[in-house]
């Protein structure tokens, strides 16, 4: 009996492992920042010379921290989805303009629309390192107390926005 069942069992075990392996996304590295305080930053604001934004200024609000750059191809995929979100005026949208040229960044926003309430410039990529950024675009959702509650790596698609991001934002806004 064992002789006949063994190959079948072996096949099933291998099939399960392969199926799991195929469905995992190697780019999706769990962030150790989830449920931790969002790292501090103090960065110049894009398009407003001399103005600096700090993380502490955002405490009390639920906000989205979206890492983008004009050189980033897949940022164009998610951009219309953030433009749509901005129209709903649901949440504060902060852009982290990552390792970009300010002029190129401004032009990019002028061309494709600017969904951000404010964008800060991280030209040296240091805030990026603090947030564990490795693949632009990335999106963080930060709650009223300044705790990172969610991270999305890669372009946010309509499905993610409607089924994950927006429900979570509403839930966090209901928290005191």
């Amino acid at each position: 009996m064992f002789k006949y069942l063994a190959p079948l069992v072996l096949f099933i075990v291998m099939a399960i492992f392969l199926a799991l392996g195929l469905n995992l996304n190697p780019r999706d590295i769990p962030s150790p920042l989830i449920n931790q305080a969002a790292p501090d930053f103090s960065l110049p604001v894009l398009g407003q010379t001399g103005r600096v934004l700090t993380k502490d200024a955002l405490i009390g609000d639920v906000w989205i921290f979206n890492v983008w750059a004009s050189w980033c191809g897949s940022c164009r995929i998610e951009h219309p989805i953030f433009n749509q979100l901005a129209k709903k005026k649901l949440v504060t949208l902060v852009g982290l303009n990552y390792k970009d040229e300010p002029e190129a960044a401004k032009q990019w926003l002028a061309q494709l629309g600017n969904p951000y309430d404010i964008s800060v410039m991280d030209q040296e990529g240091r805030t990026g390192i603090d947030y564990g950024v490795y693949g632009v675009p990335e999106t963080f959702i930060i709650d009223k107390k300044g705790i990172v509650r969610y991270k999305h790596t890669g372009p946010v698609e309509v499905y993610d926005m409607q089924n994950t991001l927006i429900p979570l934002i509403k839930q966090l806004q209901a928290e005191i």
Binding site: P26, I29, P30, S31, P32, L33, K99, E124, G125, R126, G128, I129, D130, Y131, G132, Y134, G135
Partner: protein, 157 residues
């Protein structure tokens, strides 16, 4: 001759490819330089996941090398820098991850598979030996010689 020439050229181009330009860093203490070299070989470049930050010339790898260098200059230890990186990127950033519940399978897995293999090998070889030592009954021996004779006849024709 041409073939050898192109082969040499190919090998040379490969050599220059693996030796990606790692920028020159000046260290006051040779110990710090040693730690730097070890660290950049142990940290993973998260953009090109199968390369260390020493191997990769991705922008992120460059930034992480700069970060390691600066922290060493500030007098940070190897463990402090590894801690800094894991706080931001998780254990995945380390090519030599610590042994804990989450990474247990990674460490024990190969040993478990080796043991399974050895047990299987043992079971299968033992079964084979058993088949050779089976005692035949009178009747079976008669049948066996009969079959052998039949086969021999066939071969002669």
């Amino acid at each position: 001759m041409n073939f050898i020439k192109s082969l040499v050229l190919l090998l040379l181009s490969m050599a220059s490819y693996t030796a990606v330009a790692v920028e020159y860093r000046k260290f006051d203490q040779p110990e710090q330089e040693a730690v730097y070299k070890v660290l950049i070989e142990e940290l993973r470049c998260l953009v090109c996941q199968n390369q260390t930050i020493a191997d990769s010339n991705a922008e992120l790898a460059q930034d992480l090398r700069r970060q390691v260098y600066e922290m060493l200059q500030q007098g940070k230890s190897k463990d402090e820098i590894a801690e800094f990186m894991t706080q931001r990127y998780g254990d995945f950033v380390l090519y030599n991850p610590p042994f804990k519940a989450k990474t247990g399978l990674l460490w024990i897995g190969p040993i478990v598979f080796l043991l399974i293999g050895l047990v299987m090998l043992f079971l299968f070889t033992r079964r084979k030996r058993n088949t050779q030592n089976i005692k035949l009954t009178e009747e079976e021996i008669k049948q066996k010689t009969k079959i052998r004779n039949l086969l021999n006849d066939e071969a002669e024709q």
